[in-house]
Structure formats: C-alpha cells, structure tokens
C-alpha cells in the first residue's frame, strides 16, 4: 500500500468538521459517479458543520442533511434523480436549519473553470438576481476594460473534493470512462473540481496498476498530483449506477424517498442502511448486491 491507498475510515479523517466538501461528479439522473460509500462513512463518523458544494444536490446531499452533517449547501438545483425535491433538504429549508446558497449553471460552471485554471475569478455581466445576496464571495465591480458593472464569479475551491471513479492506480491516476457517457455536468465538473480543490479523495471500483494507466494514456482524466487519497470500494456509488459496472438500484431510490418523508422513518433508514452495517461490504450484503 502506498501512502495514498487507504481505507474509507482513514480517508474520511481527511475531512475535518467545518470543511467545505465538493462532490466533483454530481448526479443528474440515476447513473452517476457519486461516492456514496464515502458519504455513508461521513455520516457514520458523525462529521458536523460541513459546507457542501455540488452543482446538483440529490440523494447524497439529502442523506448528509438528514444525518445532521451539513450547515450549508451550494447548488443550482435540488432534485433526486431529476424528480423530487429532496425531502430532508425541503424540511431543513423550511425549518431554517440549513443555509442554502443557490446559484446558476453559469456561476457553477465559471466558478469551477476558474478553480480548475487556478485563477481568482471570472467576470460576468448583468448578473443581478437574488442569488447574489447569498454569495459574499462574489463581488460587484466596474470592468477596467469598458466601465460596465460586473460580478466576480469567484473560483470554487472546496477544502476537499470527493469523486467515485471506475479505475485508479494507487497514486490517483484515474479514468472516468468514456466522458460522453457521463452526464452533462459531471463530464466537465469531475476533472475541473478535482483540479480546483485543496484536497482530493477518490473512491474507485477497481485499483489498477500504473502500467495499466500508461498503456492507455488518452483515457487518464485525473492525475496523481491532484490526488491525496485513493480508496478501493467496489459498488461504491450504490444506489447510483456506474456505466460498465452496474445498473442503478431504482427500488432503493424509492425506498429512500419514502423513508426520508418523515424524520422518524428517516432515522430508521439511517440506522438500518448507514450506521448498523459494519463496513461497505456489510452494506452491500444488506442491499442485496454481490460485490
């Protein structure tokens, strides 16, 4: 084992309470490289006051909210696999127990692009909506080029970015698979957010050798110099599906939505699916997956 190859328990310790955590590959539909096993471990370790950056917040963010891990969330949409408003998010919003920084597709994209290139911000004209008042990191200014009013879309650089990948070597050189098969957001945001983040944790379906990465150098989407931890977690995105590995577990999404409907039934869900399974493989056995 190299210094980067570690267990879920160890990797999660790289996320201090109060960190900003970015999900580099968000879900749009049920097929997505969401690092769910790591998300469940964050809940198990009772992380608190996390600030979640995710372009689209789905089941993964809702689980963290319901488990009390988040103080704030930043996204341009809040939807579980393109359908329901996430129940714990809705409840926490109405109760005022979570801070929501809504933004837009442009601001997420330009913020990630700025983070990815290492520049401080990218300027945008005309952006004067109600998102603005929730984003103290965006500054209004006068363009030195033409004197027009602008807003700085400040680089998105989370303390820790997390992403699930099909294949990684022990150093964190990783393949995302055919990026045309990724969703429209993730194909851009996965490599971009990984570059912009201060620290990066990968969970991987398979750990491959460095030689295997070098054998197909056109497929390397994430490079070792941006990666701090690599965890081997087969079926690590469940209930999301991973192209070429497994289908999404749509029944589990339904079960989740039903459970999250009330705080009581969600507590049951958390206990049964997150806290009681002793590790990732116990979880997989529970949900009926043969790892």
């Amino acid at each position: 084992m190299t210094a980067k190859l570690m267990t879920l328990e160890e990797a999660t310790q790289l996320i201090p309470d109060g960190s900003s955590v970015g999900i580099a590959s968000p879900s749009v539909g049920p097929v997505a490289l969401v690092p769910m096993a790591l998300i469940r471990e964050i809940v198990r370790q009772r992380k608190r006051d996390l600030d979640l950056y995710t372009p689209i917040m789905g089941l993964e963010g809702d689980l963290l909210i319901g488990a009390g891990c988040l103080k704030a969330v930043q996204a341009f949409a809040f939807r579980i696999i393109g359908q329901a408003v996430p129940p714990n998010f809705r409840r926490a919003s109405i109760e005022g127990t979570i801070t929501t920084r809504e933004e837009s597709e442009f601001s997420v994209t330009l913020g990630l692009l700025a983070g990815s290139m290492g520049v401080q911000f990218i300027p945008l004209h005309g952006y004067q909506n109600d998102h603005l008042q929730h984003h103290p990191e965006w500054h209004q200014f006068t363009s030195p080029v033409d004197g027009q009013e602008m807003v700085t879309i400040t680089a998105i650089t989370p303390d820790v970015a997390i992403v699930h990948v099909p294949k990684s070597d022990p150093e964190g050189n990783a393949k995302l698979g055919d990026t045309n098969d990724l969703n429209v957001m993730a194909a851009f945001s996965a490599p971009a957010m990984v570059r912009g983040a201060k620290r990066v944790i990968l969970t991987a379906e398979e750990i491959v050798t460095n030689e295997e990465i070098r054998a197909t150098p056109d497929e390397t989407s994430i490079l070792y110099h941006d990666v701090d931890a690599v965890v081997h977690v087969p079926h690590g995105a469940h209930p999301f599906g991973v192209t070429g590995y497994y289908e999404p577990d749509l029944e589990h999404f339904e079960e989740y939505l039903k459970a999250a409907n009330t705080p009581e039934s969600f507590e049951e869900y958390l206990k049964h699916f997150v806290n009681e399974p002793t590790d990732a493989s116990a979880y997989l056995e529970l949900v009926g997956v043969r790892a």
């Binding site: 442009f106 601001s107 929730h134």
Partner: protein, 265 residues
Amino acid sequence: MTQYSTDYTIDELVVCSLAREIRDGEFVAQGGGTALGIVSVLLARLTHAPNLKYNYLSSVDPLFDNIGPGHSPDSVRGTALQRNMTIDGMVSMCIRGKIDVFSTMPAQIDRYGNVNVSLIGDHQQPQTRFPGGYGITDWFLYANRVYAYLPKHTRRAFVEKVDYITGQGHIAGETNGRQRLGIPGQGPQRVVTNLGIMGFDEDTHAMRMDSVHPGVTQDEIEANTGFELIVGSDLQETEPPTVEQVDLIRNRIDPMGLRKHRFDL
C-alpha cells in the same frame, strides 16, 4: 384554408401559442424537465419552422420528433450533431448569444417578468422550497428571447414582486435598462397561461394583456393577476390550434400526454 380544432385542450393551446413564437431557422434551447416546452419546439419544427436548430439538454440538434419514453434524453443523443456537449460548451453558446429562444415554466412571475423557481416566503426560512433554477437565471440574461408558460393563472403566481428573483426580467421603467447593465438578451417576450397571452410594454416594460383565450374574459384574467395589467390597444382572442397541430401533438409528438404535467390538475 386553416381548419381550427374544436376539441383542443388548454395544454394544446399553450403548446401552439409557444410554437408560433419560434421563427424558422432560429436556435432554440430547452431543458429536460419541461415537456410542454419540448412539444412546442417539435411542433414548430414539424410545421412552420423546419430549419429550426435545437439544443435538448446536452444533445445538439437531435432529430427526434416524439417525446415518448422511447425518446428519453439518452436515446435521442445518437441522432445529434454532438452527443454530449458538456455544460461549459452550453454556457459558452449561451453567453455568446447563439440562442434565440428559450421557454420555461416558473412558479411566480411579476409585472416586469422577473421569475421565481426557487422558493416561496422568506429566503432563510421559506414556506415552500422548489428544485431551483438550473440555467433559468442564465437564459433569462443571455438567450435572445425568453418565454414563460404557467398552467394556472392565479394571483399567487402573478405577483407584484416575486419572493426570489431566480431569473431577471426587465428593468422597471427603463427602456434600455438591460443594455445599460450589459445584459445581452432582450428578456421575457410573452407569458402564456391557461387564460391568455401577456406581453410587455415596449417603453415601461410592464406586463400587458395581449390576447384572451376563447371562452375566457378580460375580467377573469385581471381578477387572477396580483397586479394591474396594461390592456393592449389591440386586445385579441387567442388563435386556437389547428386540426393539423392537434393531430401532430396527440399522435406523433406526445402520445403519452407528458405536456399535460401541471395542466391536468
């Protein structure tokens, strides 16, 4: 001679009203969650705008003309010019002013066409939380012309001031306010509801009643609007769907009736 349908439903009238706003050869973008908007684009392509260009989610100009389950976002990608334009490509296209037409279904809209798809009530502790704006914020700024449609024209939807500005409309009372702020798009053009079609005054940009659907009265629209509407000097009755349009909608484009979402309540 044009033969108008006598058994159209209100969703079909809204589809046809939106389709008529699209001109041939224009570039239309549409998100994934708005089936009625998609039906209107496909209808325009099958009738008066055969050369319209279409971005459907990440697929550039897919050829499909049917939104049934066999034509999910994934399945249409194979017929596109580019299968997966990633979000930066879509953002680039829109910022650079390539998109002529965009339509969406907001929860609230105000006198100046500001729209809200974020929340109802207080920002920190809302009464209701919606899924959020996706690209609505951006398209309202950068697409050349935007359209809104609402299945229920009510005082709760048409409000003096939206609770949250997700998408910016016009600048109150200022003819060239958007230009002054460096906003490239012309902003909201028409608002189509179950009762009528609204536009915006060229100078003040306040909302104006342009046409009333067959069977609806001007009073009914005014009573269901939470602010004072200007009444257009040439207020008309909305043109109904034609027999051909209704046939295409029902039998070719949307046999499953996905367009009826929120119109069928």
